[in-house]
Symmetry: C2
Subunit: 535 residues, 2 copies
C-alpha cells in the first residue's frame, strides 16, 4: 500500500471509504478519555465529514502525514530567536516544494485553499504566516494589482527563486493607510521611480519576511509625477536583496524588528530607502498608471476608492484570519477538554478515587461555551471562505462582483474581530482551566495565545475594523438601501422586514422551542434591529 | 549631598520636603505628554502622597535608585532560559545583601513590607517571586509552623547561607492539598523520618527555587507513626542540596520544570525522595508533634483545620498577590495611556496634523476603566495589606485574631481572583490599544501578561478560591451569623441591615448624586444582598 513517489516522499494510496482510513481516523489509544468517548451521542467521524467534506479532510491529513515524518518538521523546544527564524524559513520552503496545493489545485478545487491554510496553521503559526505572505499575499497582489509586464516575477515566485513581502505600514502610520509618507518620485529623464524615505517615521515597518529573507517587497508609496504633482498612494514592486546572496542593494537600509510577543518565526522587518531607483515598469498599474512623460491615468477617480481597490488583499486576509482563529481556538479547547477529562481532583469523602475535574459544573461552565464557539467558528469560517472563493472565481470570469465584494468586506470586518477576540478569551480560559500544568510552555497554550494575539492587530486593528462594519450598517439605513440588493450573501437581507421583526414577540414556551435554531435566529435578528434602530 | 556609604553604595541624604525631592519627583522631560500633563486637574505628587504615604514612597524610590545604578540590574534583552535564571538568582541575592528592609525594619515599620514588595515587583516578577519565597514564605512558615528547635536554620537564612523552597503541590494534586501522597514514616529506632515518594504522581512539582538553587525545602507529607498509623499532612524541613556545592543529596532526585509561559527567572522544580532520612527535629511541630516513641499530639483535632492553620502562609500570599497585580496593571495602563497620548493617527481632512489616539472616544472607553481599576486596586491593596500586617502583629502579642483571620482569609480569597483577572483583562486591552508596536517584546506588555497569568493559578486557583469566598458568605447566612461580630474588618457588617437595604430604592436624581460614592456603595450593597438572597 505504501509507495515511494518520484520526489522521495512516501505516499499512501487513499482508502476509498474515508471512515475506514486509519491514518485519518486512527483507533484511539485506551486511557482516561475512553470513558467519555464511549458516552458520545454522535459519531465524531461523521460530524467531521458533514462539516468539512471528505476532500477537505483528506488534504489536511496528507499535509499532516508528510509533516509528521519529516525531520525538519519535528518540534525543537527551547530554540532561540535565530533558530526559530531559521526553521520557520526552512519549513516554508520545504512546504512550497511539496506543491500540495499549487496554482493548478487552486484553479481546479479553489475551496480547498481554506483546508490547506488550516492544515499548516495547525502545525505552526509563524511558518504559515511566512508561507501565506510569500505564496499568497505577495503574488496575489502582484497579479491583481499589477499587469502583464510583471509576469516574469510571477514565474520566479512559482520557481521559488524570489521571496516577497507586503510593505504598507510605517513607523508612524498603520490604520491611517492614506497617511503613509514613503515617496515615489517619477524621473522622466531616466524613466525610473525614485523611492525615498523622508525620515525615520516613514520607515516601512512590521513587514513580514522583510527582516532577513525577502528579495522583493510590494511597497506602498505616495506617487509624485513631474511638477511635484501628487497622485496618491500607489503600490510598487521594489527589489530589496540580491536573489543569490540575500545582501541588500545600495540605497536600501533594511533590518529586523527584533523579538515579538509571539510569531517569532517570522522575520518582521523595517526598511528605509535613500533615493533608491526602480524601473518605471515596477508600478503596479491596475488602479493607476503613468505614461513615459509621467501623465497619470486611473479608472478610479476617488483616491480613497482607489486605495480600497488596491488593498483588496487585506479583505482576503481577514477571511483567512477568521479561519485560523478557528484553528487556534479548537487546539486550545481540545487540550483543555482532554485535560479536564483526565485530571482528577477531590472525590467522595474517604475514598481514594477522585473525580475528573470536567465533572464539576464550574469547569463545564468555563469550557463548554468555548467549545460551542469553536463549532460556530468552524461553520462561519467554512461559509465565508467559500463565499470569498466564489467571489474571486467570478471576478476571474469578469462578472460584476462589486456588491458581494462590499458585503464580504463589511462582514469580514465584523467577523475578524469577533473571531480573534473569541479565540483570545477562549485560549485564556483554557490556559487557566488546566491549572499549573497549563502554565508550562509545553502545554502549547501560551504559544497559541501569543500567536493569536497578533490576529487582533494586523490586517486591520480590531477596534477600527468594528467601526468599519458599523459604518456600513449605519450607511445602509441612512441611504434607505434595498437590503436584498445590497446583500447577495443574505447577511442583512432580513432587515427588509425590520418593522415586522421589531414588533414580534417571543412565542417559546418549552425548552425545546427556546433551543430551536430558527427561534434563536429570530431573537438575534430582533436584537440586531433593536440596537441598530436605537442610534 | 551624595555620600558613599560603607558598603560602597551611593546614598542621597533625604530631602526633607518630599515634593522638592527631584529623585522622587523629577521634572518631566518635554514631549508629547506635556500638553496632557498641563491639563491635569489635580497634583499627581499630592495624590501619590495621599494614597501611599511619604515613607512608602521613599522606600520604593530608595530601592529603585539602587537598582537603576547597579550593573546587574540592567535589562538584558534576548537572554536565554539559563541566563534569565542566573540573573534572577543573582539579583535576589544582591537585593538580600542590601538589607533595604530586613527583620528590624519589619518589626519597626511593618506596613512598609507592602511598599518593599511592590518596589521589587515593579522591576521584575521573577526576581521578586524568588526573593519572596526565600526571604518571606520559607522563613515565615519555618517560624510560624516550626518551633525553637529549628532556630539555627533561621539564623542561616538571615546570613544568606541557605535558600529555601515551599513544596506542597504534587504532579497529581494541587488544589486538593489533603490529597498529597508524599510519605513521612517515623522510624522509632533511629528517631528519624523516612521521606518517600511512592510514585511519579506524588513527585513534588512546580516548587519555586527547587529546580536549581534551593538548599532546603519545606515539604508537606502524610505522617505515618508506628503501627502504620496515619496522622495527616504535616510540614517537614528537608535538606535538598549541599550548602556549598549545591549538589543534591543521595536519595533526592531533583530537577527543573523547564520553560514556562512566563516567570522564567524562577527555577520551578520537581523532587522525588527515595527512602530519604531526616532528623525527628525537622518536623514543623506547631500544629502537631510526636514524642520519641512516635505518639502524636496536636492542639487541633480536626485534620482539615490543622491543615488550614499550617497553610496560613498561603493567605498572606493572596494578599501579596493582590498587591502585585496592582503593580502589573498600573505598569500596563501607564504604558498604554502614555502611548495613546503620543501616538497620532488620522486628523482633520486636508491637514497633515493628526490627533493623538487618546482623543478617540473608543480609545478612552477602552483604557480609562482599567485606569480606574488601577486606582481601586491601589486603595484595596493598601487597605488589605495594612489589615493583614495588623493581624500578624496582634498575633505576635498573643491577641486572639481568629475572627479577623477568617475574614481576611475569605476576603483575600475573593480579592485575589478579582484582582488578578482585572489585571489580566486590563493588560490585554493595553496590549491591543498600542496597536502593532504593543506587540513588540520591548513594549513590556507581553511579559506583564505572561507573568501575571501565573497569579491566576498559584496560591489557590482563582475559580476554586472564589468558591471558598462564596462558601464563607453562604455559611454566614445559613448559620444566622452575627454579621458585626464575624466582621471586625467591617467587610460584611452591612449585612445586618439586609432587610432594610433590600427594601430601599435608589433616590438619585442628578448625575452628581449617582456619582456620590455613598450612593454607589448603597447600590453595591443592595446588589450583593440581592444575589446572596436569591440562592
Ligand atoms: C505581527 C505583525 C505582523 C505585521 N505584518 C505586516 C506586514 O506584513 N505588512 C504591513 O504592511 N504591516 C504589517 N503589520 C502592521 C499592522 O498591519 C499594523 O500594526 C496595524 O494595521 C495597526 O496599525 P498600527 O500598529 O499603526 O496601530 P495604530 O493605528 O497606531 O493604532 C493604535 C491604537 O489607536 C486606535 N486607533 C487608530 N485609529 C483610530 C480611529 N480612527 N478611531 C479610534 N481608534 C483608533 C487603534 O484602535 C489602536 O488601539 C504587522 C503587525 C504585526 C503586529
Ligand atoms: C508559576 C507557578 C509557581 C508555583 N509555585 C509553587 C510553589 O512554590 N510551591 C507549591 O507547592 N506549588 C507551587 N505552584 C503550584 C500551584 O500552587 C498549583 O498549580 C495550584 O494550586 C493549582 O493546582 P493544580 O495545578 O493542581 O490545578 P488543579 O487543582 O488540578 O486544577 C485544574 C482545574 O480544575 C479545577 N478544579 C479543581 N478542583 C475543583 C473543584 N473542587 N471544583 C471545581 N473545579 C475544580 C480548577 O479550577 C482548575 O481549573 C506553582 C504553580 C505555578 C504555575
Amino acid at each position: 500500500m505504501v509507495a515511494l513517489s518520484t520526489n522521495g516522499r512516501r505516499e499512501e494510496k487513499a482508502v476509498a471509504n474515508i471512515y475506514d482510513d486509519k491514518r485519518i481516523f486512527p483507533d484511539f489509544r485506551s486511557g482516561p478519555l475512553e470513558e467519555y468517548r464511549e458516552r458520545a451521542s454522535f459519531c465524531y467521524k461523521r460530524m467531521n465529514v458533514v462539516l468539512e467534506g471528505e476532500d477537505h479532510i483528506r488534504l489536511k491529513h496528507k499535509v499532516w502525514q508528510w509533516m509528521e515524518q519529516h525531520p525538519d518538521y519535528q518540534r525543537e523546544p527551547g530554540s532561540d530567536l535565530e533558530r526559530t527564524r531559521e526553521m520557520a524559513n526552512k519549513r516554508q520552503h520545504l512546504l512550497w516544494e511539496q506543491q500540495f496545493y499549487g496554482v493548478n489545485e487552486y484553479l481546479g478545487t479553489p475551496h480547498l485553499l481554506l483546508a490547506f491554510g488550516q492544515a499548516i496553521f495547525s502545525y505552526d503559526f509563524s511558518t504559515s504566516v511566512k508561507f501565506g505572505l510569500s505564496t499568497g499575499m505577495f503574488p496575489s497582489t502582484l497579479v491583481s494589482n499589477g499587469s502583464g509586464r510583471l509576469g516574469k516575477y510571477v514565474a520566479k515566485i512559482a520557481d521559488n527563486r524570489i521571496l516577497g513581502a507586503y510593505a504598507l505600514t510605517e513607523i508612524s502610520h498603520g490604520t491611517n493607510a492614506l497617511g503613509m509618507r514613503t515617496r515615489a518620485t517619477y524621473d522622466v529623464k531616466r524613466e525610473e521611480f525614485i523611492i525615498h524615505t523622508p525620515d525615520f517615521e516613514a520607515a516601512k515597518c512590521w513587514v513580514g519576511n522583510l527582516g532577513k529573507t525577502c528579495t522583493h517587497a510590494i511597497v506602498y508609496a505616495q506617487l509624485y509625477v513631474p511638477d511635484d504633482k501628487h497622485q496618491g498612494l500607489q503600490a510598487f514592486l521594489v527589489p530589496i536583496r540580491d536573489e543569490r546572496t540575500l545582501l541588500p542593494f545600495p540605497g536600501v537600509t533594511v533590518g529586523d524588528m527584533g523579538e515579538k510577543i509571539g510569531l517569532n518565526g517570522i522575520d518582521n522587518g523595517f526598511v528605509m530607502f535613500n533615493q533608491y531607483r526602480i524601473p518605471k515598469a515596477n508600478l503596479l498599474s491596475k488602479t493607476g498608471d503613468i505614461d513615459a512623460q509621467g501623465n497619470y491615468t486611473s479608472k478610479i477617480k476617488d483616491e480613497r476608492k482607489r486605495l480600497g481597490a488596491s488593498l483588496g488583499a487585506l479583505s482576503v486576509g481577514r477571511v483567512n484570519i477568521t479561519a485560523i482563529t478557528y484553528v487556534a481556538l479548537s487546539k486550545a479547547v481540545t487540550i483543555a477538554t482532554r485535560y479536564a477529562a483526565s485530571r482528577r481532583q477531590f472525590g467522595p469523602t474517604n475514598s481514594p478515587a477522585e473525580w475528573p475535574v470536567i465533572e464539576y459544573q464550574s469547569q463545564q461552565y468555563r469550557l463548554i461555551p468555548h467549545l460551542a464557539t469553536t463549532i460556530a467558528l468552524r461553520v462561519a469560517t467554512l461559509w465565508i471562505g467559500k463565499e470569498n472563493v466564489d467571489l474571486t472565481m467570478k471576478g476571474f470570469t469578469g462578472e460584476d462582483t462589486s456588491q458581494a465584494g462590499m458585503e464580504i468586506h463589511a462582514i469580514s470586518s465584523a467577523l475578524k474581530p469577533v473571531a480573534t477576540w473569541a479565540a483570545r478569551d477562549g485560549i485564556q480560559e483554557c490556559r487557566e482551566a488546566c491549572g499549573g500544568h497549563g502554565y508550562l510552555k509545553s502545554s502549547g497554550l501560551g504559544e497559541l495565545r501569543n500567536d493569536n494575539d497578533a490576529n487582533c492587530t494586523y490586517e486591520g486593528e480590531n477596534n477600527t475594523l468594528i467601526q468599519q462594519a458599523s459604518n456600513w450598517l449605519i450607511s445602509l439605513r441612512r441611504n434607505n438601501a434595498d437590503f436584498v440588493a445590497v446583500s447577495p450573501l443574505e447577511t442583512v437581507s432580513f432587515l427588509k422586514d425590520m418593522d415586522t421583526i421589531l414588533q414580534s414577540k417571543g412565542q417559546e414556551h418549552t425548552p425545546a422551542q427556546v433551543l430551536d435554531p430558527l427561534n434563536l435566529l429570530n431573537a438575534l435578528n430582533w436584537l440586531t434591529i433593536w440596537h441598530w434602530i436605537r442610534r
